[in-house]
Subunit: 449 residues, 2 copies
């Protein structure tokens, strides 16, 4: 059997990239369950592995210390519905699609989060995934009783312990603990439900969880680690890694590095799926696709894009001249984004204003064209050691997903590199991942990279 690629859809529970909401094909349904449920149906028809929701717990004010640019331009952080009830709504109308929500380890408690995802995993029949982030916006910290955020190493230390506790809680019911013997009576076997008695630096949690072990053992764990600490965390804990690369070469080197790190943590590199982000624009001809990309591009307000880039990089870009290039700066935020942004800036010689437009309406050059050309590009990355599959972003929702599903997916299927039917009933099975045995968290927590 040929190796198959995996596809995730990156959905924003809000207006998405600035400009996207201005397109005639965009539907402003971010507050309606049916908006997400219709996308879920489209993606399941297209045999996607999962839908994936990023998140942020503030309206960012990193551009000029104000939320105005986010709100005015409908930028990425302007409006964000809580992804947890959104994925529960989507589960109700689908049977196979995996459903991932982002929750930060910095502003939540492990008992709460372990329980939410265990519950979602049961309710969806084994389709829940958790995208783990540590949050780095000052504006987020200020919504959670902090004057300033924890530094990166504290955040990752806390995240490591958070995952350890979550793992212990998911394992606190043995797989066969629920007995349901009406006669004895014996509802659950008390010998198979365990306190966790965790006492650590950040958390003290007695347990057990009040939800049985999830169908998938643990929900699928997703991470987007670009810094060195982030990569270690991802290599230790992730089933799926989401990343962002402006070129195949940079994707290849990230791919190789992560798979090697995973091995140093004692994991099978095949057990981690790396799905770089793509934003294809598909047209009936190459020329029409380029035209469409330009039309989308024209609708992006440069300040809207810069406002989002400012919070991704955690640098106040309002302080630099708009018509010069982005200078080299210290970037406390997402280092991967910065490298990518520098790469694009240098390659295309962009001013800050142009960069804002580009970042807001960005699309990787390889993936603008006809459906065949886009499929070629994806196949090339996939077969050339740059990706196990892709995380699809679209310039506008929900149309972008419909076009891709109708036009590109059948071509990938015809080439034999994408499924025509779901392989299993859980997300883990569809991703080709082993169900972790009880106690797996322990092995991973102890492993030294």
């Amino acid at each position: 059997m040929t190796k198959k690629m995996h596809l995730a859809a990156f959905i924003t529970a809000g207006p998405g990239r600035p400009g996207g909401w201005r397109l005639p094909d965009s539907v402003p349904g971010w507050l309606d369950a049916s908006y997400y449920q219709n996308m879920a149906r489209t993606l399941e028809d297209g045999r996607f592995d999962l839908a994936f929701f990023a998140d942020i717990v503030s309206v960012p004010d990193r551009f000029g210390g104000s939320t105005d640019s986010q709100l005015r331009y409908g930028a990425l952080g302007s409006l964000r519905v809580d992804p947890l009830p959104v994925i529960a709504s989507m589960a109700a109308v689908t049977r196979h699609l995996g459903l991932a929500a982002t929750v930060s380890t910095t502003y939540a408690q492990p008992f709460t989060v372990a329980r939410s995802f265990a519950s979602l995993d049961h309710l969806s029949g084994g389709r829940a995934a958790w995208n783990i982030v540590t949050s780095f916006q000052e504006s987020e910290a200020r919504n959670f009783n902090l004057d300033e955020q924890f530094d990166r190493s504290t955040r990752y230390e806390r995240a490591d312990e958070f995952l350890e506790v979550a793992g212990k809680l998911w394992d606190s019911w043995d797989d066969d603990a629920l007995v349901l013997d009406v006669e004895q009576p014996l509802f659950a076997d008390p010998d198979k439900v365990h306190r966790v008695d965790h006492k650590g630096r950040y958390f003290s949690v007695q347990g057990p969880l009040n939800v049985p072990r999830p169908p998938q053992g643990y929900p699928v764990l997703i991470q987007a680690g670009a810094s060195s600490k982030g990569k270690d965390f991802a290599a230790r804990w992730s089933d799926v890694i989401f990343c962002s690369h402006a070129s195949k070469e940079s994707a290849q080197s990230f791919y190789t590095e992560i798979k090697e790190r995973a091995a140093t943590f004692g994991r099978d590199p095949e057990e981690i799926k790396i799905l770089p982000s793509i934003t294809p624009v598909v047209g009936p001809t190459t020329a029409r696709a380029k035209e469409l990309a330009d039309e989308i591009f024209e609708l992006v307000p440069p300040i809207g894009g810069l406002s989002t880039l400012a919070y991704h990089l955690d640098v106040d870009l309002s302080t630099f001249p708009l018509d010069e290039r982005l200078p080299e700066v210290e970037v406390p935020g997402v280092a991967g984004h910065y490298h990518e942004v520098r790469e694009i800036t240098e390659r295309e010689g962009l001013t800050l204003r142009q960069l804002g437009k580009q970042y807001g309406g960005r699309y990787e050059g390889n993936f603008i064209g006809t459906a065949d050309e886009v499929a070629d590009g994806l196949q090339d990355w996939f077969e050339d050691g740059a990706a196990d599959g892709f995380t699809l972003q679209v310039p506008y929702q929900p149309g972008g997903f419909e076009t891709f599903t109708r036009q590109v997916v059948p071509r990938l299927q015809k080439r034999g590199i994408f499924r025509t039917e779901y392989e299993g009933s859980t997300l883990r099975e569809n991703l080709g991942l082993t169900r972790p045995a009880s106690g797996e968290w322990q092995r991973r927590s102890g492993a030294q990279g």
Copy 2:
């Protein structure tokens, strides 16, 4: 128009009262979304105002310091799915039914909770309700980094501030802040989205929320306050009050007291709906209903009931002799439960063992009988100043809801005291409550009772 009663269904996202899961008609579907979705459809067919989920964030160990009795007997705290994804699943298959989840103010952050319920309110088209609890189990505290729980007055002080912050966050977007002008572009008007800049004793929250103001203004707020602090909190904040009374007289005196307290906080007493809990057992004849109640009663393991009563009262009942009466004790837990329990114990002369059985399989004497007799009982309480409606508990799920909906609801409708069609599109409208204007939280926070 005759005044209409309101009906809420009290559902457990787990096995419910001990013994209930042992009944042949019980369906062990607590981990399946379809289990809840089917109940939601039944309740909407029966024109219920809302479905209501209690919650607890631990497996209680108040009986003998161990979780064994809860797990073995499938008692109330043995297994509890997170109610938030559950109500999101139920929203997906209904159009009118209100959906309430319990979240504790003691172990969560106001930004998170305000956002969850704002999101649920949007996604459900204005049907979300929050049952506010402060949590009093030591076992819960020990799942959230505490060696012992906060005392009652700290919990209520924190809860008051929590509600104040939540109110500010719900009001941080003006009702008309979202503009969606594609031309300008103007996504949201920055002048109509406000930071909250809350700095208090327990919380420091900058805001704004990243979700527009909920369709209902605020989600419907529910509270079950039995202590004096609880009653004040409920009179200040609640739209709906859930309570538990063993007799009409005790329900009447609670009803009068709460309506008076609400008035002292400057609220219209009509704006608070008091819905005492009932657990009817309906049969084709009075004799058959009593028999059925006895059959249910027989399946209740006394220790399962005592184990739950122990955590409700927060008293380790394993230390008292099983075949004597419950002595008078200091009750740190739910005082209302204790009064009710004492009332029943004295009236019926129960030993602790009998009390355990009774508490596990309890049913108020008035509401066992034919559908007509049950309807008589409800009408009597409703018309005699004891209730604005009822919160229906059932001895077994989902059958108990089906029986009530099929047999009792039509009789209430025939008598003109219950709706035949939903009056409005939001839960608030169906409850006959005004949509709070922006800033309402401020008036209530400032009001001195």
